[in-house]
């Protein structure tokens, strides 16, 4: 099954989803299609002006273009997803996934789709990590 992950570029979630036999839908995969496709733009750009228009499907016109641009990439992944895992409390919500409003929108879009959803937190110690992996494993095995 196709599993959408939040943060969408998480190494931990990507690896665990694949390890337990599912296909992760990630930001890297979506970006890869954009930058490796020779037809898209020259030079290739991560987010094109057209994407910002596509983002209108997921957010209103009054929403800043940065959010719409991000949603244009993440939104189709949410539409495609058959399940989702959200990992909260990322202590590094900056950089390319650092837009808090987009994060909130994406959580809303995932919940609106009513697909199987697992919400967990980043571990801070060994016991929490054991609980996290066990929850993810049983969630993913339950999807089969």
């Amino acid at each position: 099954m196709k599993v959408f992950i939040v943060p969408p570029n998480s190494l931990i979630l990507y690896d665990l989803v694949e390890r337990y036999g599912h296909t992760p839908l990630s930001l890297m995969g979506a970006i890869s299609k954009r930058v490796m496709n020779p037809e898209i733009e020259s030079p290739p750009i991560n987010v094109t002006p057209n994407d910002v228009k596509k983002g209108l499907k997921y957010a209103g016109i009054e929403v800043p273009s940065g959010i719409r641009g991000r949603l244009a990439v993440w939104g189709p992944l949410v539409d495609e997803a058959e399940a989702a895992i959200i990992m909260e409390d990322a202590p590094f919500e900056f950089g390319c996934v650092g837009c808090h409003r987009t994060d909130e929108m994406i959580r809303f879009l995932v919940k609106k789709r009513k697909i199987p959803l697992l919400e967990v937190r980043y571990p801070t110690n060994e016991d929490e990590a054991k609980v996290l992996v066990s929850k993810i494993k049983s969630f993913l095995e339950g999807l089969k």
Binding site: P7, I12, R19, I31, A90, C96, K130, S134
Partner: protein, 140 residues
């Protein structure tokens, strides 16, 4: 570049004794049709999807629970990301922080593999009024 090309990051957990050099040497000995680049966190592999999957399977055997992997959006040496060309690395902060977490995740994966029940973590309770009063009085 062919359409079915994939770039993968192979990341070694800090608790592992495997080195990036060992991984790249192993990939070279496999004679797979992939490009490999040694990095500080492990290695990057690029090639046809099936070849990359086969390579990854062989690399994982070195230390199954301590070698992690994810797809990379940009190809190896892409001028927009490669440090040699002063490219920006907006995803590196996330990778760095998650790398620190990998030793914990490895314990979780091992625990799940053995079928052990995870430990019970007591839920965080709300602070009592008495405790709050004590803190307020202490801080003056």
């Amino acid at each position: 570049m062919p359409k079915d090309t994939e770039t993968r990051m192979i990341v070694i957990a800090p608790s592992s004794s495997v080195t990036p050099d060992q991984i790249t040497r192993l990939i070279h000995t496999l004679s797979a049709e992939v490009t490999v680049k040694e990095t500080c966190y492990g290695a990057m592999v690029e090639g046809e999807r099936a070849e990359v999957a086969k390579t990854l399977e062989a690399v994982r055997k070195l230390d199954p629970n301590r070698i992690f992997s994810k797809v990379r959006g940009f190809p190896i040496g892409d001028a927009r990301r490669c440090r040699a060309h002063h490219g920006s690395r907006p995803g590196f902060t996330q990778l760095e922080k998650e790398w620190e977490c990998l030793s914990l995740i490895e314990k979780g994966v091992t625990c799940a593999e053995k079928g052990e029940a995870p430990p019970e973590i007591p839920r965080r309770q709300k602070i009592t009024v008495e405790e709050l009063k004590r803190i307020v009085e202490e801080t003056g």
